[in-house]
Amino acid sequence: MRTITTAIAIAVLAISLGVLAQEGELDALRGHVPLLEERTPEPLYDVVNDDQRRVRAYPMQPPTIPHKIDNYQVDLNANRCMSCHSRQRVGDTQAPMISVTHYMDRDGNFLAELSPRRYFCNQCHVPQTEAPLTVENRFVDIAEILRQPRETEE
């Protein structure tokens, strides 16, 4: 019984590997390079550092960071992001304040400080690089859809 299961598993694995290797195009992130070949890595792209805020690229997207955050320390001891973006610091730094939702716990109660579950900014907010898009984004904002004339739908 055991040997049969193992044999089936190996067969399935081999077939799927074969399929994957043939249809390299399925994996755009690997750059259409067959699995067993090594891919030339892309260069490291510069982080966009122009301080221009961006619109969202998909619904509910957290705002992206328009500046470099190299070596920003966010750990138990210090939160570099909050040294500019916290409610108390924005007056001095003129940085955009983090949203009030970040001062709420998950039940909607207001806290005096940044909620611990929001502490690690990079879990949601990320800088952007100059890298060419791997996949095109066809997102259209809801406001744009509402503005389109009715007859196109009919």
Partner: protein, 200 residues
């Protein structure tokens, strides 16, 4: 007891004060000159030796903590290959200030002998204290060691990001802030910043 010390001092003074009976004037002046050059050269060479990175990281306290931490930062790893070593930031470059700092550093020799920070845990326990001392020093001398390389008169604000240019115009040019006010933790990890001004 005091009488004996007095006697000893007066004997010494008598020898010191009386003209030489054996050595020629030429020997004394030329010998004194050569001796002075050797002493001064030796003294400065020894002091410069304590200013090298190799000297600093010959102790594991520095090599395993702060030296590890500076390596990913811009002052150690960068495109242009200019590197700031320990003494560039932590020792004043002017001679009198340097001597003053070196005398203070004798306390650090004490710490080394008695193992004040000889483990990672002890180092972390003392980190806020040590960092605060450096921040105070930089605040007091208007970030002199930063300015040995980064001169605000030489900064081209148009080459900075608008965010950086604005912040420098507000803080640095108007003079309410000095480099360290904002750039804490630029080269080493920060201690627990709770209660530090500007990190609420």
């Amino acid at each position: 007891m005091i009488q004996r010390i007095k006697n000893l001092l007066s004997v010494f003074w008598r020898i010191f004060n009386s003209p030489s009976g054996y050595f020629s004037l030429g020997f004394l002046t030329v010998g004194g000159f050569i001796g002075g050059v050797l002493f001064w050269g030796g003294f400065n060479t020894a002091m410069e030796a304590t200013n090298t990175e190799r000297f600093c990281i010959s102790c594991h306290e520095m090599r395993a903590n702060v030296y590890e931490e500076i390596q990913p930062t811009i002052h150690f790893t960068n495109r242009s290959g200019v590197r700031a070593v320990c003494s560039d930031c932590h020792v004043p470059h002017d001679w009198t200030d340097k001597i003053a700092r070196k005398m203070q550093a004798s306390k650090e020799v004490w710490g080394k002998i008695f193992g004040t920070i000889n483990t990672r845990e002890k180092f972390l326990d003392h980190r806020l204290e040590m960092a605060s001392r450096e921040w105070r020093r930089f605040e007091a001398n208007d970030s002199l060691e930063c300015r040995n390389c980064h001169d605000e008169d030489a900064m081209d604000f148009t080459r900075q990001s608008s965010r950086a240019a604005d912040a420098h115009r507000r803080g640095l040019i108007n003079g309410d802030a000095t480099c360290i006010t904002c750039h804490k933790g630029i080269a080493h990890e920060l201690p627990d910043m709770a209660g530090v001004e500007g990190w609420e």
